[in-house]
Symmetry: C2
Amino acid sequence: MSSAKPFARSACAVANSLDIVGDKWTLLVVRDLLHGKNTYGELADSPEHIPTNILAERLKRLEAAGIVVGTPYQERPVRYAYTLTPKGKALGDVLLAFVRWGKQHIPGTMVMGQGTAAKTAATPRTRKTRAK
Amino acid sequence: MSSAKPFARSACAVANSLDIVGDKWTLLVVRDLLHGKNTYGELADSPEHIPTNILAERLKRLEAAGIVVGTPYQERPVRYAYTLTPKGKALGDVLLAFVRWGKQHIPGTMVMGQGTAAKTAATPRTRKTRAK
DNA sequence: CCATAAACTTGCAAAATGCAAGTTACTTGA
DNA sequence: TCAAGTAACTTGCATTTTGCAAGTTTATGG
């Protein structure tokens, strides 16, 4: 029997997915790669302005996870173009689910690069919170 | 025109979704609520063992975000039963996308509560991408 | 009266994040 | 030749978030 703990937290597919892409930045990098960006500079220039040290670390982690591959597009100095593997491209479905949820439930949000004509969530009137 | 900055990072639906649920724990809480758990204790007992201070903080944030509502199920001491709002239930699609991705791409993961018979990702034998 | 329990809260230590500045290895224009 | 620019990182450090353990509050059962 295998006694070694195979998973960090549990065998749940959601938990293990979150161990890879469960933070504020990783899926934004994947989003940009899906949109055709592929150099460090292009990724760093996105509207959310990811800190450069975080970007570098995330690219390493995504590469280690088999989601991204970096292929040199020039020698001297060597520069890498980052692209998604099939595993990475498959995250498109997750991104799509987030887009749909965000557009329906977070007023004003939209899919970048589609202008204001895109359907967004209506601003709710009131919302009350329980008193302490 | 509105001059106040409406979004923390950008107007992207993905970025704003991640500002709410983009961490290692939040979607696991939502997963459990979708699976019918609703007390603090039930949520704390999940296999991932969320630290109790994190659980308390996440429940507050989810309530503030309109994803969860806490209704008292007893007074003295007052205890809350947490349930998902429609906005919260709608995250089921995101969870489902994560489940599909995890099962296909993270070997050994599965949907909790479905036993080992559930389809999981094959340990990468040499498998070529099948024709669709 | 005492042990147990659920639901939080508090106190840190450790890790992750974010900002700015520095470094490396070139390319380009004067 | 030499200064300036540029892409891609790296480093330092202050702030924030996480995680573990222990404590608190209100109540119940023996």
